[in-house]
């Protein structure tokens, strides 16, 4: 075996990965450039706000409720090791607003929306609906991708805000029913310690995650291979890529916002 073969394979894989990053970046740049150029598809944007934001509320709300409750139990149990049980309200609030609210909402929306966008656009690709759009003098990126990108970028922060509130409520419910906290004291501590930037940073994260979710859904959907298998692969790739990128972006943003 040629000793250089593994290196050649590694080189080819690296070049392919870089080329893919380049193509996604160009796709995102094209979509962003259409944001400010008419025509604007307001009806499609409104439909996507409903699909991505409104219809994701139940799953995001339930996830946040259980996460907030579990977080309160864990902080109480962990804090008990060094007599810090009383910090439950503060840590739940900060944890939900800075990390768990945006990340949980982002991942849940990635699972629900990136898959749905990729499957829908992938099916449109393989049934020639995207070609049909072009022949009808309609730019597919502008008509399909831009409303989804804009809607997700605006709707996910709203979902994060809801997740923060419901998550904190979950912690409060567990705190007063299971851990013996006084309701007014719990809420007072939450309000006293939570700073605007705790919430604001989570909303910014939500906007970035929303953009990533729609970008991955649109990219993999519009570049789906032929047939049912191609659409299936595009859907899986969109969810995996969106989830990994959300977690990577979360770390990068946390470094940017909170590193000492």
């Amino acid at each position: 075996m040629n000793p250089a073969l593994p290196l050649a394979r590694l080189g080819r894989a690296t070049l392919a990965a870089l080329a893919a990053v380049g193509r996604v970046t160009l796709f995102a740049a094209a979509a962003l450039s259409h944001l400010v150029r008419p025509p604007f598809y307001l009806r499609e944007f409104g439909q996507q706000v409903m699909q991505i934001g409104w219809f994701s509320l139940p799953v995001v709300g339930l996830t946040a409720l259980f996460t907030g409750g579990a977080l309160a139990l864990q902080i109480y149990a962990g804090g008990a090791r060094f007599n810090a049980e009383s910090v439950v309200p503060q840590i739940v609030a900060i944890g939900m607003a800075r990390e768990l609210g945006p990340v949980m909402a982002g991942l849940m929306v990635a699972a629900r929306v990136a898959s749905s966008i990729a499957a829908e656009l992938g099916t449109m690709k393989v049934t020639e609906q995207i070609d049909a759009l072009t022949t009808l003098s309609t730019n597919p990126v502008k008509y399909l991708a831009v409303p989804r990108l804009l809607a997700a970028t605006l709707a996910v922060p709203a979902l994060v805000a809801v997740a923060d509130a419901i998550g904190i409520m979950g912690g409060w419910l567990v705190g007063i029913t299971r851990l013996g906290f006084n309701s007014a004291a719990y809420l007072g501590n939450t309000a006293d310690f939570l700073e605007p930037w705790d919430v604001g940073s989570g909303l910014v994260k939500g906007a970035v995650f929303g953009f990533i979710i729609a970008l991955m859904g649109c990219w993999f959907g519009m570049n789906s291979a032929r047939g049912a298998q191609g659409v299936g692969r595009a859907t899986k790739a969109a969810v995996v890529a969106a989830s990994v990128l959300i977690l990577a972006a979360n770390y990068a943003l946390t470094e940017l916002f909170f590193s000492a």
């Binding site: 020639e128 072009t134 009808l136 003098s137």
Partner: protein, 249 residues
């Protein structure tokens, strides 16, 4: 007039078009025949700019089709019926038909666009009751008719039909063939149709071009189809297993 000169297109190692030369005169109906995978659909997608040729030139009335001055204005001259209909699932039938009239440079008031959609649906034999249904609620034949109505909705000068009778029963195929011939004649449009169906060829074509081996193997009037000496054409038209075209058995 549509003119293709020395058009090449490869997908990886698969050289689909290897120097296609074809001229389609204004107001004529040309049918492109050829076996599966010979690049018939790629040919019309190259004219529309959906696929970029590797080499060669394509002009429409002297205008460079690959780099038109205004892509919107260029595409506004075309209508296309896709093989599977390619109707938009999320829109009701009338909005599919009036898609071009509801947005972009050809935009009309909504009521006017709906009226035109109903008129075009009537032209292809569909009543107003169909207008508010969604494509998934229609049969294959009705979807083809809606696709045909969409293709002619904005009064195009050039219409492409990609496998218009695939998947239809012989009676419905005959109806669609008849509609295409009537519409092309009454609109005075230039038409290119892609098909394997020899019944369609005889019903629709003024001229026929056979694509094989990445080039136009034979081209001539439909009346000469049966008397042509080309062995590839004879095998294809006759549906013969034996002949110069390799077949898998």
């Amino acid at each position: 007039m549509i003119a293709l000169a020395d058009v090449h297109k490869a997908f990886g190692a698969n050289r689909v078009l290897q120097g296609v030369n074809l001229t389609v005169a204004r107001g004529t109906s040309t049918v492109v025949i050829g076996g599966s995978g010979t690049g018939k659909s790629v040919l019309i997608k190259c004219i529309l700019g959906l696929v970029t040729p590797d080499r060669g030139t394509i002009t429409v009335d002297g205008q460079d089709a690959l780099n038109p001055a205004s892509r919107d204005a260029f595409l506004a001259r075309f209508g296309m019926l896709f093989q599977g209909g390619a109707l938009f699932d999320s829109l009701p039938v009338w909005q599919n038909v009036a898609f071009r009239l509801l947005r972009g440079s050809l935009k009309r008031p909504r009521e006017e666009a709906r009226a035109i959609a109903l008129e075009k649906l009537a032209r292809v034999g569909l009543g107003p009751a169909v207008a508010d249904l969604y494509p998934a609620e229609l049969s294959g034949g009705m979807q083809k008719r809606v696709g045909l109505a969409r293709a002619i909705a904005a009064g195009p000068e050039i219409i492409f039909f990609d496998e218009p009778t695939t998947g239809l029963d012989p009676i419905m195929a005959g109806v669609i063939n008849g509609l295409i011939r009537e519409i092309v004649t009454e609109m005075g449009a230039t038409a290119i149709t892609i098909t394997h169906d020899m019944t369609s060829v005889r019903a629709i074509a003024d001229r026929v071009a056979m694509l094989h081996g990445g080039v136009v193997r034979w081209e001539g009037p439909v009346a000469e189809l049966d008397s042509a000496a080309d062995p590839y054409l004879r095998q294809f038209v006759g549906g013969l297993a034996e002949g110069p075209i390799e077949t898998l058995r």
